[in-house]
């Protein structure tokens, strides 16, 4: 662990992180980062033989999860300080990536807030050191936006453990995960929000079967996960029996907040598109210039809102306010990706060699408007929790789960 505190000035903080990276990052990675060779960096990041030692060093120094308490692999520092660390690591693309988002941003904070001392001991350091990878087992084929309608069953066993049966879906990186945060129905005789319990599911347990789903962008990041007679010990339960909904909502708020980008006002995706338009010559058109400037304005405005949200909330737990940023950012990213092909030769519709980035982004653009709660659900949350409008009617809300209409 290195000595970083909230009272360390940001420039010293950044310098300490840079020094740490330069001493410990694998030499080939460091050299590639210095040479702006991001293709090589990506290859090295994704090669466990080359990167696992680095993740372990990063975690042991507390730099993978700076806001977590020292005893669980963090530095106990504020979100602001953690941000400086994150930005310094980003210079080398040496921070933990998307594949660890669920471990670090969702599973870890949930375990920290609601887990037993044994669960914290067992999992948090392992997450910080990059030795455990997590996935999320929330959505189901019949429970998407209406997540509380989930029907995966967790039945209490005579020994106090749980027998789990059901099917989950849209589980990012489940095929690579060691554990999953799981919401399952423990009591179908209660109304739907009340009979859910939260578990930490060992993905290696017999009966857990992830099957990758090919997505519209060609990637296979999502999975279906079949759970067939999976036995979980009661020590895998988080919180009280039947308290899973509230814990799950806390997890989702972390997700919305985390999906909303990192604070800072400066060149972003719109600027990258502007540069690309300058390269391709599309920028010569004054109409294109104004279109792109309008996107730059929106991105800067979103950045300013994110900075404000971080400043005003401090280190408080995420709230419905995260929905405001999630909606604004996912809409902007979608619009940027929609516009991207306009600056590309042939609209990015025909190419030789590698898939153009704008074409990939175009095919990827709907992801963030759906994942982590659709834009429609975010609008409901904003309308109901921030503006005090009545909740969307759910005629089956108070019915026992087992009596509801099945889709």
């Amino acid at each position: 662990m290195i000595a970083l505190t909230d009272s360390t000035p940001p420039t010293q903080l950044a310098a300490a992180v840079h020094a740490f990276v330069e001493e410990h990052l694998p030499a080939a990675w460091l050299a590639a980062a210095r040479a702006d060779d991001w293709v090589t960096v990506t290859r090295l990041r994704e090669d466990p033989d080359g990167s696992s030692e680095w993740w372990e060093r990063l975690g042991a120094a507390g730099l993978a999860t700076p806001t977590w308490p020292v005893e669980y692999g963090g530095l106990g520092v504020s979100a602001d300080t953690a941000q400086v660390v994150k930005e310094a690591l980003a210079t080398y693309d040496a921070g933990r990536g998307d594949v660890d988002f669920i471990s670090i941003a969702l599973a870890g904070p949930t375990i920290l807030a609601h887990g037993t001392p044994e669960q914290k001991e067992r999992h948090l350091k392992a997450i910080a050191l990059g030795k455990e990878r997590w996935c999320q087992l929330f959505s189901e084929p019949g429970a998407g936006s209406d997540l509380a309608g989930l029907s995966t069953r967790a039945e209490r066993q005579p020994d106090g453990g749980w027998l789990v049966n059901g099917q989950k879906v849209w589980s990012s990186y489940a095929h690579l995960a060691d554990f999953g945060i799981l919401m399952a129905r423990s009591d179908p005789s209660l109304p739907k929000h009340r009979g859910i319990t939260y578990f930490l599911c060992d993905m290696r347990a017999p009966g857990v079967e992830p099957r990758p789903l090919r997505q519209m962008n060609g990637d296979a990041e999502f999975n279906e996960v079949f759970l067939t007679d999976v036995l979980l010990p009661d020590s895998a339960r988080v919180g009280e029996v039947g308290a899973g909904w509230a814990i799950g909502i806390a997890t989702l708020m972390n997700e919305r907040s985390g999906l909303s980008g990192r604070p800072g006002v400066g060149p972003g995706r719109a600027d990258a598109l502007l540069r690309r338009a300058q390269e391709t010559g599309a920028w010569e058109s004054p109409v294109v210039q104004d279109d792109l400037l309008a996107l730059v304005v929106r991105e800067r405005a979103n950045q300013m809102m994110t900075v404000r949200a971080f400043a005003e909330s401090g280190d408080a737990a995420p709230t419905a306010e995260g929905s405001v940023r999630k909606l604004a950012n996912s809409t902007l990213l979608e619009d940027l990706a929609t516009y991207g092909p306009e600056v590309e030769p042939y609209g990015g519709t025909a190419w030789s060699g590698e898939l153009p980035q704008v074409t990939y982004d175009f095919l990827d653009m709907k992801k963030l408007s759906i994942a982590g709660g659709t834009s429609e659900i975010q609008r409901n949350i904003i309308g109901e929790r921030l503006l005090g409008l009545p909740k969307d009617p759910d005629p089956e809300k108070d019915l026992p789960f087992e009596d509801r209409t099945r889709s």
Binding site: L293, A294, V297, A301, M304, R308, A311, G383, L387, L389
Partner: protein, 381 residues
């Protein structure tokens, strides 16, 4: 640090909001607009002398409280919430900042101190039929100490005690002080979309004038004024947009159709949620811009982003308010159209969205340069 409100700032905002709610609610703005005065001299005096709004960003040497643009943004947002009319923007923000930035201590001593005390109103006359805020393109000329030319859409130009006029002098574009009542000054009030603010054409026919600050300094001074006024207007837009959302949410919680309050319908709820997001963005851009160091590239960027965003956002939110109120929102009696009128007028004040987007070119596309401002550090010192 950005967005870290001090206790003093919070108290200042709360006090101002209480005063304006009691003395200048939107119904009062409507009353003043309908009787044509637009201006409440008693409130003006109390704002200046008791609340200190007029000197909030003015150095103590001229009677101000030496605050920053952050405090000025608070004033803009709170005044925007109640559609306060009258000469605050013209006198305190446009003319006051022009005086400050002119670096002319004698003029500040004589006029700025009286603005701060609430004893003088002033207007800044720049735009012409063939020139916006581009000082180089101005047609009004100064021959010695006499001005000739026609200024368009001068905010409060018909009633201001003092005019600050941009004109071509021997050493290039310069600013001049002109007594509003002087011979050779012909002021014609124009009909206006936003009835809370008065706008006039000001003709100068060999009108007597005094040079303000250094000859040839108009471009830099006006650039300074444009930035600070943009932040004030952006904050005003955020305040107005917020009230549109609040009054519409109130209505959607109480108006019933089909056996339910209309806010339960997603068609209503989602439009209102989008308006709420837009309003949070308006606040964020205005505050962020206000928090940057005056004269810095960040301040320039912030002002441009804030106006490029908030111009369109406020108009959209005002439109949404009318849409979601339905027929009642289309009536003269309802306040919604007053917000739409203000929103549209603000969107043309000191630059359109397109103008402000174009101002980003030097910073984001590497074309052109960021215009200079005078002594950035000295302006507020």
């Amino acid at each position: 640090v950005e967005f870290q409100w001090s206790d003093d700032q919070r108290e200042f905002r709360a006090g101002l909001r209480r005063l304006l709610a009691a003395r200048a609610p939107v119904s009062r703005a409507r009353e003043l607009a309908e009787n044509g005065t637009r201006h409440d001299p008693a409130l003006w005096r109390d704002l200046a002398q008791q609340v200190g709004t007029h000197g909030i960003a003015v150095p103590e040497a001229y009677g101000g409280s030496d605050g920053s643009w952050v405090e000025l943004a608070i004033v803009g947002e709170e005044m925007g919430r109640v559609l306060l009319g009258g000469p605050f923007l013209s006198t305190v923000v446009l003319a006051g900042e022009a005086l400050l930035a002119s670096g002319d201590p004698a003029a500040c001593e004589e006029h700025l101190t009286r603005i701060v005390a609430g004893e003088l109103t002033a207007a800044l006359a720049v735009a012409e039929a063939a020139a916006g805020w581009d000082a180089a393109a101005l047609q009004t000329t100064a021959a010695g100490s006499r001005l000739t030319g026609t200024k368009e859409v001068v905010l409060d130009g018909a009633e201001a005690d003092l005019l600050i006029v941009a004109a071509q002098g021997e050493d290039g574009p310069s600013l001049y002080l002109v007594d509003g009542a002087a011979d050779g000054v012909v002021r014609t009030p124009l009909e206006v979309l936003d009835p809370t603010r008065q706008v006039a054409r000001v003709e100068l026919r060999d009108a007597p004038a005094t040079l303000l600050g250094a000859a040839g300094s108009a471009a830099a001074v006006l650039e300074h004024v444009l930035r600070v006024a943009s932040i004030f207007v952006a904050a005003e837009q955020a305040g107005g947009s917020a009230v549109c959302v609040e009054m519409t949410a109130d209505y959607a919680r109480t108006r019933r159709q089909f056996g339910r309050v209309i806010g339960a319908f997603q068609g209503v709820k989602h439009r209102l949620a989008d308006a709420a997001v837009r309003t949070e963005l308006c606040r964020s851009t205005a505050y962020w811009a206000a928090w940057q160091v005056p004269g810095s590239d960040e301040s320039y960027l912030g002002a441009a982003v804030a106006r490029a965003h908030n111009n369109d956002a406020y108009v959209q939110t005002a439109k949404d308010a009318i849409q979601l109120h339905g027929g009642i929102g289309f009536t003269w009696e309802h306040d919604a159209h007053l917000f739409l009128r203000r929103a549209r007028a603000d969107a043309s004040l000191l630059g359109s969205s397109r103008d402000h987007r174009a101002r980003l070119l030097p910073l984001v596309a590497g074309t052109g340069t960021v215009p200079a401002t005078p002594r950035p550090a000295g302006v507020l010192a």
